[in-house]
């Protein structure tokens, strides 16, 4: 066999970064698909003033809930693309057969997925807040809760996606698995924005969302890795 001088095993960080960059490249080469969750988010939120009433008093009240529910559904809609193509063409097997821990490698995939689907929602949310007459004070809280909450949605959703990727029609099952776990994020997120609109402190809700983020960031990758092994066996 070859001597160690001619063979180099990449560090875990290099493998993580390579996979992260690969997923961003793949997303960039599917730009049309990339815009889907964002379009869904914008369309759903803009329909509400037309469907209910253009009156600012009422819009202001429903704005936090509407924006958060739309963001949650957009995040869920985007989940299917996370592992699908890698599962179909066998790239997922290669990832799991890598000597590096699968939990860390899948985190690279989830991070890339969040950058492509979650981050645009955060960037466009203030515009939609203006559309729904959300007070300026609540705007930064909306951005903060989405910034803390959408990564949780991606991480928790990835567990469900990993479990259902082997099924032909896992869509409904995925929503049933994942939605109950999304509820705490929705409650704290929407509640924080509503409270901020009333001019009250929201630090408690933000701490809770932060705690959920830390919890899912540490535990979800292990669950995703294990779920993928089950799906592939």
């Amino acid at each position: 066999m070859y001597s160690s001088e001619t063979v180099r095993q990449h560090t875990l960080g290099a493998a993580f970064f390579a996979l992260f960059r690969r997923d961003l490249t793949l997303a960039f080469r599917h730009r049309a698909e990339m815009a889907n969750p964002l379009l869904f988010f914008v369309i759903v939120v803009t329909l509400f003033p037309m469907g209910i009433t253009p009156e600012t008093k009422i819009l202001e009240t429903i704005a936090p809930g509407v924006i958060w529910v739309a963001a949650l559904l957009a995040a869920m809609l985007s989940l299917d693309t996370l592992f699908r193509s890698d599962f179909d063409d066998g790239a997922l097997e290669q990832i799991l057969l890598s000597p590096h821990p699968a939990a860390v490698l899948v985190l690279a995939k989830v991070l890339a997925h969040w950058l492509v689907t979650g981050l645009p929602l955060i960037l466009v949310a203030p515009l939609l807040g203006v559309l729904l007459a959300l007070p300026a004070d609540a705007m930064w809280v909306l951005v903060a809760t989405l910034a803390l909450g959408t990564p949780v949605l991606s991480l928790v959703g990835a567990i469900g996606t990993a479990l259902t990727v082997g099924l032909r029609r896992g869509g409904v099952l995925l929503s049933l698995l994942v939605l109950p776990l999304y509820i705490p994020v929705l409650i704290f997120g929407a509640n924080a924005v509503g409270t901020a609109a009333d001019g009250l402190p929201v630090i408690g809700q933000l701490y809770f969302l932060g705690a959920l983020l830390v919890l899912s960031l540490t535990l979800a990758p292990l669950a995703i890795g294990a779920a993928l092994r089950i799906s592939l066996s």
């Binding site: 066999m1 095993q9 990449h10 066996s233």
Partner: protein
């Protein structure tokens, strides 16, 4: 009852480099694909599994890789169960499966760079040179989706050249490959085993090597 011929094991079972299977069984939907399968593979061995379609060849290879779990028995690498020595085993393993893992949206070169990042990269051979060796010169920067089925499989097999692994597990490597390609792959396998590598493959075609001989294990339904 399937009754595969066991490969005579040589020497005592020590921690020397060897892949051993002990009483492997695979059951799909109440139907026993194979059971009581034992074999031992040491450096320099080429083992070919053959048998009729649906006899469990791919399932067996996935079990050997550690992707699938056997219903009975275990696979050991250097005397250790592969699920306990996963990181160590994975770094010695290259698998080209039925779904070969070549991303359609990436170019062959990008595919090989990714494979190097995930495994152990060989520094003495450039990915572009490996692609040339596999007859893909000039196609390095074409998205893989524009390649033919045979060319895609060649890209997948080029992974074997750019990463270093002692054990190659190949599921139907000759599918969609032309005659010259088959000879090239056979030469590659011979070179690998002459360096002390090990190869496990499934194929319906007889494999002829210049160096070493192919042990054939029949899986009977």
């Amino acid at each position: 009852m399937p009754n595969p011929e066991p490969v005579p094991s040589s020497g005592a079972e020590t921690d020397a480099v060897a892949l051993t299977a002990h009483g492997l069984a695979c059951i799909r939907d109440d139907f026993t694909l194979f059971s009581g399968l034992d074999f031992r593979i040491v450096p320099g061995d080429v083992v070919q599994f053959d048998g009729p379609n649906g006899c469990g060849k791919t399932s067996l290879l996935r079990i050997i890789c550690g992707l699938g779990l056997p219903d009975e028995g275990e696979v050991r690498w250097c005397g250790q169960n592969i699920s306990q020595a996963r990181a160590e085993y994975s770094s010695e393993l290259s698998y080209v499966g039925h779904n070969h893992g070549v991303k359609d949206e990436l170019t062959p070169l990008e595919n090989l760079h990714m494979a190097q990042s995930l495994g152990r990269a060989r520094l003495d051979i450039e990915p572009a040179v490996a692609l040339q060796k596999f007859g893909l010169a000039g196609l390095e920067d074409v998205p893989a989706r524009k390649l033919s089925a045979g060319q895609k499989r060649r890209v997948a097999l080029s992974r074997l050249l750019v990463t270093e692994a002692r054990l190659w597990i190949l599921d139907e490597p000759f599918t969609a490959i032309d005659k010259q390609g088959v000879r090239d792959i056979e030469a590659l396998l011979a070179e690998h085993v002459s360096r002390g590598g090990m190869v496990i493959l499934t194929s319906h075609h007889p494999v002829s090597l210049d160096f070493g001989h192919v042990k054939c294990i029949h899986l009977k339904p």
